[in-house]
Amino acid sequence: MNVYFLGILFSIVFVAAVIDLMRRRLLLEQYSLFWLGMGLVIFLLSVFPGVLNSVAVVLGIFYAPSLLFFVGFLFMLLTMLQLTVTLSRLTTRSVRLVQEVAILRAELESGESKKTSERGGDTNDETVQDA
């Protein structure tokens, strides 16, 4: 068993794992496309290892696997940057949600005490009309 066969095996298992995550709705389609593409790249490089060598020669890299490390590293760096951007957006959104929920709950609690004393009939009338 050589490294190329291992690469093919890994990429197949990887894609299967991604599809399984999508199936369970644990991974959104918008993010899964990226990972499926990644699996495809690993698969192709394992099936056609010559491609890596040719590209390395063109770029003037003597040791072809170092090209793999270089590209892989840059790729991971960009992916992580993208992830923290996404994380920042999620943080902003959850902050906004906490704020709005707190405001609404305060209104609800102050409104309930008011409703019973001041305008108790209002909501009931509307329900009767609807029915």
């Binding site: 957006r89 902050v95 906004r96 906490v98 704020q99 929920v101 707190a102 405001i103 709950r105 305060a106």
Partner: protein
């Protein structure tokens, strides 16, 4: 409903918040008060409600910026024309409030800053802290093009336009200084008015000596970023 809302962000300030609310109500009758309890684990919310404030309790701790912004969002939704920020620890004297509000109603500024340094007041602080403040003031001066002496003061009155801006954009941590540059970017005007500041009545400052280096770095970076942003950007602060 009155046209001015006092916003008091509070994190576990049960000892002081009640007194602050009562002295505000004594000093200024024409204001509503909202206390934003930032995930307090003590009786801050109950004490504040009992003292006559409207209380908004955040389920999780958002930090000072997120808590204050909650107050501004409430002010926006309820249509208040002016919003006042006062600390819950009692270092801001509510006796100054009617005067600050009157200054805001003059309409020449989008934010009135209660300042310790405009005239001689009784406030004193440590040498290193003063040096940090002078440095920040110099940075802000460079960024906005005019002098603001007390950049870290948390005692502020803003108008409707600023309420709307803060509802969508407000820095999450250490907001005081950054906000000044933010306002400048939106061509909004800050004016300082002298106030008295007292020593904290209880609790400790959120800025300890160990954190002060980080504070200086973070705030300086925030100022630099605001300058780099230049004019209001497309899609800025999109959710």
């Amino acid at each position: 409903m009155r046209d001015a809302l006092v916003i008091i962000p509070a994190l576990n300030e049960e000892k002081t918040v009640g007194g602050v609310i009562r002295s505000i109500l004594d000093a200024a009758q024409e204001v509503d008060i909202v206390v934003v309890s930032d995930g307090s684990t003590d009786r801050t919310a109950e004490v504040a409600a009992a003292a006559g404030a409207y209380v908004i309790s955040l389920t999780v701790n958002l930090g000072i910026g997120g808590a204050v912004q909650t107050g501004y969002r409430y002010a926006k939704q309820k249509g208040y024309l002016y919003a006042v920020q006062i600390d819950a620890d009692g270092q801001h004297d509510p006796a100054d409030l009617p005067r600050l509000l009157a200054e805001a109603r003059m309409g020449d500024a989008d934010m009135i800053l209660g300042s310790r340094y405009v005239q001689k007041t009784a406030y004193r602080s440590s040498a290193s802290r003063r040096m940090g403040m002078v440095l920040l003031a110099a940075f802000v001066h460079m960024a906005v093009g005019y002098a603001i002496k007390d950049t870290t003061s948390g005692y502020r009155v803003v108008n409707r336009r600023t309420i709307e801006l803060f509802s969508s954009q407000y820095p999450m941590d250490y907001p005081e200084v950054e906000v000044l540059v933010l306002l400048h970017r939106y061509k909004m005007r800050v004016r300082e008015v002298a106030v008295e500041m007292k020593e904290r009545q209880a609790g400790v400052s959120s800025i300890t000596m160990i954190k002060s280096m980080y504070y200086m770095f973070k705030v300086s970076l925030a100022i630099l970023l605001e300058v780099l942003r230049g004019r209001p950007l497309k899609g800025e602060g999109r959710l």
